[in-house]
């Protein structure tokens, strides 16, 4: 187990595509870090540079105290779980689990012990002598996990390991991965673009966009206090309502004075818009109902306010009964507003 430190890491593919623009990140020993961001933002590239599957154009990657830039993946002592699992199709499950250990010359009794232990933890003992093609998707996923844990590596690297599973299984495996990582205490880097995975798995969440880090922090901190428009829009489903301040001023006369100068956009989380009047200071917007999505435990209400370019989404507990065209009064408390600078899109200092 070890910490991982990236210093000014940059990746340029074939001379012109820059996938990672000089990035710093430090991952502590035993920490579970999740990289999240839109497709093509460089998550996999970053992970593969840590793994040693991609060269590092400039900068430095350290695992523990060793600079690993020039080391082969195996010498870095990391284990990786791939999206398509990449199990060896001609080897049995046991063969798949053993292969890495055999290559490092682990003694036979030790191999057997570790394989059995991993199989027990992951509940794949009954399948040890089957070939991967004789397993279900979920079982293959477990084997891929097993192949990582038998090695007892310094770090686990996951590249969207659950995205080939159905929603229910994904939920189960998510919980299991978290539990496993807690038990083993192995440093982990996990790439996903699933919000739920990002929020629930991470000790530390790294939001990436176009090859740079937008924000690093604990998941709930990032959700509660996004530092940029990008993070505000990206985290949460549905994302934050982002309203141009000039349009809002045209609609609301009594905006709070606390909005910092230079603000260009105001962000409001869907769950922070209430239909009932709150007791604390607030302002109101009159709107008409456009559509309601009933999710079960809650309703997503799309409301159109005259003068705003996009519908406002709000989240309301329980089932909201209403028809398109119904008038709505949206109550927004002063304290829930997020202000972003017009110039940079960063959070405006209060």
């Amino acid at each position: 187990m070890a910490s991982i430190t990236l210093t000014s890491v940059k990746k340029t593919y074939h001379g012109n595509v820059t996938a990672i623009h000089g990035l710093d990140l430090s991952i502590e020993d035993g920490e579970f870090v999740v990289l999240v961001g839109p497709s093509g933002c460089g998550k996999s590239t970053l992970l593969r540079m840590i793994a040693g599957l991609e060269t590092i154009t400039t900068g430095e990657v350290r695992i523990g105290n060793t600079v690993v830039n020039r080391l082969e993946p195996a010498e870095r002592d990391i284990a990786m779980v791939f999206q398509n699992y990449a199990l060896y199709p001609h080897m049995s499950v046991r063969g798949n689990l053993e292969y890495g250990l055999k290559n490092r010359g682990t003694p036979r009794p030790e191999i057997d012990r570790r394989v059995l232990e991993a199989a027990r933890i992951l509940e794949i003992e009954p399948f040890l002598d089957r070939k991967p093609r004789q397993l279900s998707g979920g079982q293959r996923q477990r084997v891929a996990m097993g192949r990582a844990i038998v090695r007892q590596p310094k770090a686990f690297l996951f590249d969207e390991p659950l995205s080939n599973l159905d929603a229910k299984l994904r939920g189960q495996m998510r919980v299991e991965i978290r539990r496993l990582q807690r038990t083993l205490g192995t440093t982990s880097v996990y790439v996903t673009h699933d919000q739920l995975e990002a929020m629930t798995l991470a000790d530390k969440l790294v939001v990436m966009n176009a090859g740079v880090i937008e924000q690093i922090g604990r998941p709930l901190d990032i959700y509660a206090d996004p530092q940029s428009l990008f993070v505000a829009a990206f985290m949460g489903s549905p994302g934050m309502n982002l309203v141009d301040i000039e349009r809002l001023r045209g609609l609301v006369a009594d905006l709070p004075a606390s909005i910092p100068s230079g603000t260009g956009t105001i962000g409001i989380r869907p769950e922070d818009i209430a239909l009932d009047e709150p007791a604390t200071p607030h302002f109101t917007i009159s709107a008409t109902l456009e559509a309601v999505e009933l999710v079960g435990s809650e309703s997503l209400i799309y409301a159109n306010a005259q003068g705003l370019s996009e519908d406002v989404v709000l989240r309301s507990q329980g089932i909201h009964r209403g028809n398109p065209g119904d008038p709505l009064t949206l109550h927004i408390r002063h304290e829930v507003l997020h202000s972003f600078l017009r110039e940079t899109g960063r959070k405006a200092a209060a």
Partner: protein, 279 residues
């Protein structure tokens, strides 16, 4: 298009059956000829089996026709030639395909195209320059001369390349993370995954080597290197006396057996491989 008209159905079957008869008839004649004496055969080809099968089968092995080496030596030469070509081609092509697909080296694409172009130049097209080269290297009348020029061709390289490109990159990456270097990856992952392809190529390449006629005819002038395909031709043509058709036909039929044996042997592997590597 399935039509249910009896007349059409009968007609198509008749055509197909006629085709089968036309193709199979010479083989039938050869097999029947195996069972007669040369005296019977020289007075016209019989259509029903005779009683000389065992005698002919024994006689052929000691048969030493004028103008050609003994039958057993030709069988040996042909087998050796076909096996060397088969193994040589597979070894060279799988290794070169591995290099082309998995390694980044200067002029890699060029290397591939150079290999690929040889696909368009079968031995028959380059036969004169190839003969010249082989002669200059002193390889006439040798197994090397018989096989090396036929080994150098791209078909198998191309097939292995196409196959390797269908294997996901993650397989190689997983192996790298698992500590397998290039040789281990080749031996432990790529080779077992290629088993089906190798079996199929063994069949094709063995037969390719076995039926070579023109090239052996050119490079061998001494009898001890004659192959079966040339020898059978010699037996039938080069004699002043009446040819011994019973022995010649026995030799012909026996010459058809090794490819059949290879097909059957490889078929097992082939089907097994097909079932096992499907993901």
């Amino acid at each position: 298009m399935v039509e249910n008209r009896p007349f059409l159905s009968i007609l198509t079957h008749a055509v197909l059956i006629a085709g089968v008869i036309i193709v199979a008839f010479p083989v039938y004649v050869a097999i029947i000829a195996m069972t007669h004496t040369d005296v019977t055969l020289n007075s016209g080809a019989p259509l029903l089996p005779g009683g000389e099968l065992v005698a002919n089968l024994i006689a052929v092995w000691t048969f030493d026709p004028p103008g050609a080496p003994p039958f057993w030596l030709m069988v040996w030469n042909s087998t050796l030639m076909a096996l060397i070509i088969m193994i040589g081609k597979i070894v060279i092509s799988i290794v070169s395909a591995y290099a082309i697909v998995y390694f980044r080296f200067p002029f890699r694409t060029l290397a591939f195209w150079v290999i690929f172009i040889t696909l368009m130049l079968p031995v028959e097209v380059r036969i004169i320059p190839t003969y010249e080269v082989v002669a200059n290297l002193g390889m006439l009348n040798s197994y090397a001369g018989l096989t090396v020029p036929l080994i150098a061709s791209a078909t198998a390289t191309f097939l292995f390349r196409q196959f390797f490109m269908t294997i996901p990159d993650e397989m190689m990456e997983a192996a790298r993370v698992d500590g397998a270097g290039p040789l281990k990856f080749f031996r432990d992952i790529l080779l077992p995954l290629s088993r089906t392809n190798i079996a199929a190529l063994c069949i094709i390449l063995f037969i390719y080597g076995w039926v070579q006629y023109l090239w052996p005819l050119l490079v061998t002038t001494r009898e001890e290197h004659f192959t079966l395909m040339m020898g059978v031709r010699q037996m039938a043509g080069a004699q002043k006396v009446d040819p011994q058709w019973n022995i010649i036909m026995t030799a012909v039929v026996l010459a058809m057996l090794p490819p059949v044996v290879i097909v059957i042997a490889m078929q097992r592997l082939f089907v097994k491989g097909l079932v096992e590597t499907e993901k």
